[in-house]
Amino acid sequence: MSLTTTTTTAPSPTPPHTSEEGPSRSNIGLVRPDFSTGLKDLLTTVDHKKIGAMYAIFALAFLIIGGVEALFIRAQLAVAENNLVSAETYNQLFTMHGTTMVFLAVMPLSSAFFNFLVPLQIGARDVAFPRLNAFSLWTFVAGAIVVNISWLFQAAQALGWFTTENGMTDIVPAGGWFGYAPLTSDEYTGIGTDFWIFGLQVLGIASIAASLNFIVTIINFRAPGMKMMRLPVFVWMTLITSILVIFAFPPITVALGELMFDRYFGTNFFRVDQGGQPILWQHLFWVFGHPEVYILILPAMGIISEILPVSSKKPLFGYSLIVFSGAVIGFLGFAVWSHHMFTTGLGKVATAAFSLLTMAIAVPTGVKIFNWIGTLWGGRIKFTVPMVLSLGFIWMFMMGGFSGIMHSSAPSDAQQQDSYFVVAHFHYVLIGGSILSLMAGVYFWMPKMTGKMWYGKLGYWVAGIVIVGLNLTFFPMHFLGMIGMPRRTHTYLEGTGWEPMNLVCTIGAFILAIGIFFFLYDIFRTLRKGPPAGDDPWDGRTLEWTISSPPPAYNFARTPIVHSRDALWAHKHGKESVKLGSVEPSPGGIHMPSNSWFPLVASVGFLILGVSMALKQAGVPYCGYIAISGLLITFVGIYLWALEGPGGYHLHPEEKA
């Protein structure tokens, strides 16, 4: 379909691809596969839309796993002196809950949106490095398996199928998602920490690879005329998030590497009796960990900035301010890590400086919130499901922001440190913020992704139940923290006065879980029976709504030429001079990259390396050799990847221009 006509024509069937070149042979005789359906296609695909969908499926699966862990935690704390789970199991539960939610649920769900949306929103046919994109996905899956396979080994040990040489019981990570050394050194923890270290390293490789890809894509693959200040806000937030990832992950890579050397090779980075400093871990972890918070929330802010203008039929209020405040948040995110360490005794000057810098972050965040409200102001608001969730996001995120400002003051932080007040704060930001807006994004873009529209009132029920459950779970935690309930303890005594509010929190958690269950059911129901969505169901403003739903493999039959911000809106409702143009189609057809096995092969090498290194620590024989073979598989995969050549075929979309 052409961009110069209106955009509501029926989706054209994907035209058959003609490979007049024949299969392209590489330098060493390898032929890149050309699957188009089935499991083999999913394993070898380099299509950013399929990769995005797989990211979403894995992320939602881990959202369930992390959620079940959270329900166990809340069930244990429902009443005083409960012994549903042991103290050891409780440590494993909160460690795995945090690790899973941060690295395996929120980050990959954001990645799903990056993958699916960024090329569509900038008018590109794919990301800059399609095979690297597939590598990021499979490496993420490998890292997720390395961390979570520990549960299986623990189960095997309970059944007597697996024994460790020294009879250690600590097989699931139990050192907290922050992994404070030296509590995670080999004297105090078992191979759980090894699964955690290697899993996180592999996940870090996946994140950095994906981020490099997205930065290059956004900078180099924009459609003609799409200047930086015409990029959709979601793309801007993706760019800033990706920059944060490439600068924030190296410090944790080094920290994990040092911890690994301490555990495997007898170095002294965190051995206090040899001069190692526990505070070094805290600095290295939080210089990653605080930017990580913004890595989790900036994509959410981008999603909200796309939904609000569409649902209130107004341009985003203060586009430049939203973009610049996002950049400022990203920059300041690196300057505030020590506010996680106010109680470690850094001295007055450092504490005061980090206190001030942390408060400063409230300014760009406030700018964003006022811009969103300005967008709503005087708009013709349609209360669609994504809009209701977005409004819920603004409220929840503001609540989390306010308690954040309380923490930024070092004296009050000294009181709140390690109490449930902190738990309340970051769950308001990360569930009320990230998860709520990612859900809004799923409701907003699922029609484009699948071609199926939501129907019925279930979406409104989901939004209502989730927002009620969320507040019921986390609001009382502010008070629990204020009256002294500490984090990370598996139970509490009777008569502390904490019992009633803990029961309320637990009830809230189960209500939240019901809401998430209905959310997943609603996705499933829509996929099976949703009515056709049409190309532009929301009267959208960005380029992805110009193409059919679901988008064809080549995205754009003709690359659009952009003349303004909110390009599609201007095209539909603006003057003649800002209508979208399009690039003449190439006579040879659109060149599409072929599938490839080697990104998957390289990732499997990492999986073997991570699991066998952890088992090596448990004294399982031959694991050192298996680890080396894993590394070799990765190397061979990368070599064959480089040598298999460009491959590819040409498509001739049937145009109705």
Partner: protein
């Protein structure tokens, strides 16, 4: 050894005019700056903590040898620049000889590091000699791994340059990307040499 046409660009223009692979390498090196920055910071924080060390870095370090191997590494950067310049001119023969030079010089540097590590261990400075030994070996070892990967990469290009598919014009940008990596590894070594070796003599 990847190839130019991995994904077709939607339009014939690139907004920045910077090749995808080169841009990617610049970004990766920016990330690597944080990586080495963290390692070097760890060393600077830890080098004066002398619990259980028992060895003095000045008596262990052989500054003449390290200076020589640092000079060799820097000269390899010069040869790398000549190799990149040659392939841009299409002079494959000169490209190969310069690349051989880079590989030999890089390997000499690595050999120096292996000799050094072996020698230091005999003098009593090991991985577990206090925090100084830990950071010294982990940091310089990480740099050594970077050099080794670079050598592997360049050997691959040398071998590939004999393949009939090798095209000096098309592959010049790939070689240039490898060159960026090589120069970065050299520049990092200057910082490490200063912050680890020279600083002990101040």
């Amino acid at each position: 050894m990847s190839h130019a046409a991995d994904a077709s660009h939607p339009a014939d223009h690139i907004p920045t005019g910077l090749d995808n692979k080169k841009l990617m390498m610049w970004l990766f090196l920016a990330s690597d700056c944080m990586f080495f920055g963290t390692l070097i910071t760890t060393h600077l924080v830890y080098r004066k903590i002398y619990e259980n060390v028992g060895v003095d870095p000045i008596t262990v370090f052989d500054i003449e040898l390290t200076t020589a191997s640092s000079f060799i590494l820097l000269m390899s950067s010069l040869l790398m620049a000549l190799a990149v310049s040659a392939i841009h001119k299409g002079d494959v023969k000169s490209f190969r000889w310069n690349l051989v030079g880079v590989i030999i010089f890089g390997t000499l540097f690595l050999g120096g590091q292996v000799y050094e590590f072996n020698h230091f261990v005999h003098l009593g400075l090991t991985l577990s000699t206090g925090t100084f030994g830990s950071t010294f070996y982990v940091m310089t070892g990480t740099h050594g791994v970077h050099v080794a990967l670079g050598i592997l990469w360049l050997i691959s290009w040398l071998v590939y340059s004999f393949s009939p598919k090798f095209n000096a014009h098309e592959n010049a940008v790939d070689v240039e990307t490898a060159g960026l990596y090589w120069h970065f590894v050299d520049i990092v070594w200057i910082v490490i040499f200063t912050a680890v070796y020279l600083i002990e003599y101040v």
